[in-house]
């Protein structure tokens, strides 16, 4: 029985109030008012598609065996690298073994999330793989003063696909693959280029998604009466999204909401995110369709099993959506996406070149937050040096790898620094103590200075620490997120 064993999701905490966009750009594009309700998720300055992917994957792997994963598929149309395997960075972020694991990137279409899921299912059914982690993520660049900026959101979702203890069994799929170009982004281009929305609706969504779903029902030998929920994305208005129900022939109650009012369309992640929003409320026996859109449509059918009751608790979409902080500054959104030229001062001109040989040698520590635990005295320590940090021990080469990423921390000291280079001053950082031993000085993120206290707990989060603009190289490390 092949299917979904576990799931995870991540949505950035910041939610840009769409009225903030309208208020700033109404002078140029008054028509934006039609899309200006609700809010869209917005990456913090230290987040991107990769950091969100790692967060979703970590959520997914809660209570699951990381060492058993034998393939990692990452799907996105906004990968940080065109050449440097992105799924490999993600795998390092969750400290997967390097031996015996296949990593693959799926890209170039908004349906790549479902395509990656299908590939995982093929690998499991074919017998070559036992445990495949599929993650879809997107944080897309948009120009100001057009609808895409309002319609899109940032987010990621992960599915652990396997054969035993599946919480949702894969029942079948049907794909339509065609070169319908609703929008495109040529190599090297920064922004999508879209065609007329009416045409996209009439010739695209309205024809292709129903065709795929019809094909799915026929292949699985069921009717829509057998299906509880149907999840398909449509970034055009919620009205258009709902109207597709009639074309599909489905009861509107069965259509999973596209979360436009609270999230926005998260691109490659969206079919998975919408599917998960239904899965989290589903009962054993429910059949749910996950469908995508982007040069065709993949439609997949899953049936929820009894095992869903046994799944260890995780954040998922519900938890991700609940972790919310309203953002009212449109210029902050623009700066975080580097769409405006802000003077950051001479201090910000420090060289940012990454020594790749040093990054390779330190990859476990830097990407995986792996330190050491001394086998002689039992002291967990970060970073791991050859000599144990315990003054009473100091043995050489006695440490084993010790994963710190999921260990909660307590804040021992902090400051809010107005001098440090920051796009959201003050820069907050301090000393944190890992539960059970180990400590480190670290940046804090997703918090206000007034909220931070000595003794407060925090969780570690994989973030983009720097971006080398001249070489287009993001550098990743971990930061602490105070828990309020």
């Amino acid at each position: 029985m092949v299917g979904i064993k576990a799931y995870g999701a991540y949505v950035p905490r910041k939610r840009l109030n769409r009225m903030a966009i309208l208020q700033n750009m109404m002078w140029l594009a008054p028509g934006l008012i039609s899309a200006a309700q609700g809010e869209r998720s917005m990456c913090n300055h230290d987040e991107d598609s990769m950091t969100m992917a790692v967060a979703a994957a970590r959520d997914c792997m809660t209570g699951m065996d990381r060492k058993a994963v034998d393939a990692v598929y990452l799907a996105s149309t906004s990968m940080p690298f065109v050449d440097r395997q992105n799924s490999g960075i993600m795998a390092a972020g969750i400290n997967l073994p390097e031996e015996g694991v296949v990593t693959a990137d799926f890209t170039s279409a908004l349906k790549c999330g479902t395509t990656a899921t299908l590939a995982a299912i093929d690998a499991l059914k074919g017998g070559e793989k036992d445990s495949v982690l599929v993650t879809a993520t997107d944080a897309r660049a948009t120009k100001t003063a057009w609808f895409y900026e309002m319609w899109y959101g940032d987010g990621a979702a992960s599915l652990l696909m396997g054969k035993d203890d599946v919480i949702a069994e894969f029942k079948g799929s049907y794909s339509v693959s065609c070169d319908f170009v609703h929008s495109y982004r040529g190599a090297g281009a920064q922004f999508d280029y879209g065609w007329e929305e009416r045409w996209i609706r009439e010739e695209g969504f309205t024809k292709i998604i129903p065709e795929a779903i019809k094909g799915l029902l026929k292949k699985c030998n069921i009717t829509l009466d057998d299906v509880s929920k149907i999840a398909y994305p449509c970034y055009l208005s919620s009205g258009v999204h709902k109207s597709l129900a009639k074309r599909i022939g489905a009861d509107p109650e069965k259509i999973v909401g596209n979360m436009a009012a609270v999230l926005g369309d998260t691109g490659a992640a969206h079919p998975l995110i919408m599917f998960l929003s239904a899965l989290e409320e589903a009962n054993p026996g429910d059949k749910i369709i996950m469908a995508s859109f982007g040069q065709g449509c993949d439609a997949l059918l899953f049936e929820v099993t009894e095992k869903i009751k046994d799944l260890p608790a995780r954040n998922g979409i519900k938890g991700a959506m609940a972790n919310r902080k309203e953002e009212g500054s449109y210029t902050k959104f623009l700066k975080f996406r580097d769409l405006i030229n802000v003077e950051m001062g001479i201090r910000s001109e420090a060289p940012l070149q990454t020594a790749l040989s040093a990054l390779w040698r330190n990859r476990k520590e830097v990407l995986g937050l792996v330190g050491g635990k001394c086998t002689a005295c039992g002291t967990p320590q970060f970073p791991r040096l050859r000599m144990c940090v315990n003054p009473a021990c100091q043995e050489i080469d006695t440490q084993e790898d010790y994963e710190f990423s999921d260990v909660p921390v307590t804040i021992k000291s902090y400051t809010g620094d107005m001098l440090a280079v920051s796009v959201e001053p003050p820069a907050i950082y301090g000393l944190v103590q890992f539960e059970g031993g180990g400590r480190t000085l670290v940046d804090f993120t997703d918090c206000e200075l007034s909220e931070v206290k000595v003794g407060q707990t925090a969780k570690m989060s994989f973030r983009r620490k720097y971006f080398d603009e001249s070489r287009k190289f993001p550098g990743y490390f971990w930061k602490a997120v105070p828990q309020t």
């Binding site: 040096l385 000291s413 620094d417 001098l419 440090a420 820069a427 400590r439 003794g455």
Partner: protein, 402 residues
């Protein structure tokens, strides 16, 4: 068994440039300014100097690497010249090199000079050290500045001793106000205006809870010392010799930021180095016996905590002692009688030697308006790095007794 270098080396002469934004002077020019005063004070010829030590912490923004810049600027006669750096404790490190060279009997007369010209970076504050900290540190260190890293002491100390934020803020303000009052009397200081505690507490925040006036400035400057044996000094006709009583250095080993005990409330290194320094100098009760101290007041909170690390204030009582005026100019142990880093700014390589310069002037009765009555022992505390990883260099000087 080694017992240290108490009374083995005396200071023959010292010099100190005017500290400030010396736009028209290069680092090389400043070296000559300090050296000229120093050698004239020593009363010797340049070719009697047998070895020299240069302290520079950020040479990449002024003279460049190696000790060659000192040899060239002063046209030294092809003698041994060594460049030393130990973060902000570099100045005392140069002094240490020169003193040990004389104490060992390797040389008779040695020069220590520190210089830093920080005002060619184009921006305020210390040069950004992220990328120069090495690739691994670049990947993993938080984006911190000096004020931000020292500011951590406030939250750590406050939590440990249950001291409310406003009490710490007021004590820090008193520390700075006191230093400014002293510096107003010093013609070589960069900042020479008295400032009130209220002004200090109201100043814009740099790194919470440190405000502008809790932070020393960045300036250009140079200071120098010529050292020799007591015998040679006497032969040269010097009287009232100022003798080196102790020099102790302590370095962090990763315990603070890597082990599970330290709570960001004190400096491990200062706590240990001071004990060794008192022992080397023969000081049994520092609170009674020290006449004056110059400590590393890069930030007011550093000075506050250092009073406890030097075993002058009991743990948790520094705020009380500060507010009682114990460290004011008319207190039990005047601290920063020359105005400190607070008024001079912090041209890094020079600072440790500038601290020594004031102790030397005081012991010779040459401190003018700032003169303390009959000082016996002076302590310099020169700290480099950050609370969680640092270098503490302590020097004690006093009247030669031998």
């Amino acid at each position: 068994m080694a017992t240290g270098i108490r009374d083995k080396v005396v200071i023959l002469g010292m010099g100190c440039s005017r500290f400030g934004e010396r736009w028209d002077m290069s680092a090389e020019d400043l070296m000559v300014e300090a050296f000229q005063e120093c050698i004239q004070d020593a009363g010797i010829e340049k070719n009697e100097i047998e070895a020299a030590w240069l302290a520079t912490a950020f040479p990449s923004v002024h003279v460049g690497p190696s000790a060659a810049p000192l040899s060239i600027a002063l046209r030294l006669p092809n003698i041994a010249v060594t460049r030393v750096e130990n973060f902000c404790a570099s100045g005392t490190e140069a002094f240490r090199g020169a003193v040990y060279a004389v104490a060992s009997g390797a040389y008779d007369i040695c020069l220590a000079l520190g210089v830093e010209k920080l005002k060619d970076t184009g921006y305020g504050g210390l040069p950004e050290f992220g990328a120069s900290a090495g690739p691994k540190n670049f990947f993993t260190n938080p984006g911190m500045t000096a004020p931000g890293s020292f500011a951590q002491l406030a939250s750590g100390y406050g939590a440990k001793y249950n001291v409310p934020d406003d009490e710490i803020k007021r004590a820090m303000a008193h520390v700075s106000a006191k230093s400014h009052a002293n510096g107003a009397k010093n013609p070589k200081a960069h900042l020479r205006k008295a400032v009130s505690e209220e002004q200090i507490m109201a100043s814009p925040i740099i790194a919470h809870p440190l405000g502008l006036f809790d932070c020393c400035g960045v300036s250009d400057g140079s200071a120098a010392a010529i050292v020799t044996t007591p015998e040679i000094a006497k032969k040269l006709g010097k009287k009232d010799l100022v003798s080196v009583k102790a020099l102790q250095l302590s370095l962090s080993n990763g315990y603070e930021a890597g082990f599970n005990e330290w709570v960001v409330d004190h400096f491990v290194t200062t706590t240990k180095a001071s004990v060794k320094a008192y022992e080397e100098a023969g000081i049994k009760n520092p609170r009674e016996e020290l006449s004056m101290i110059e400590v590393h007041d890069c930030f007011s909170i550093t000075e506050l905590v250092t009073m406890e690390d030097l075993h002058l204030s009991k743990r948790g009582e520094a705020c009380k002692d500060v507010m009682d005026g114990f460290y004011d100019a008319d207190g039990g142990v005047p601290c920063q009688i020359d105005g400190g880093l607070k008024c001079f700014g912090h041209p890094i390589g020079a600072s440790g030697l500038r601290m020594m310069y004031e102790m030397y002037l005081q012991l010779h009765g040459r401190a003018e308006d700032r003169q303390l009555e009959d000082p016996r022992f002076g302590l310099t505390h020169n700290l480099g790095g950050f609370p969680f990883m640092n270098v503490c260099s302590i020097g004690i000087v006093g009247k030669y007794e031998g």
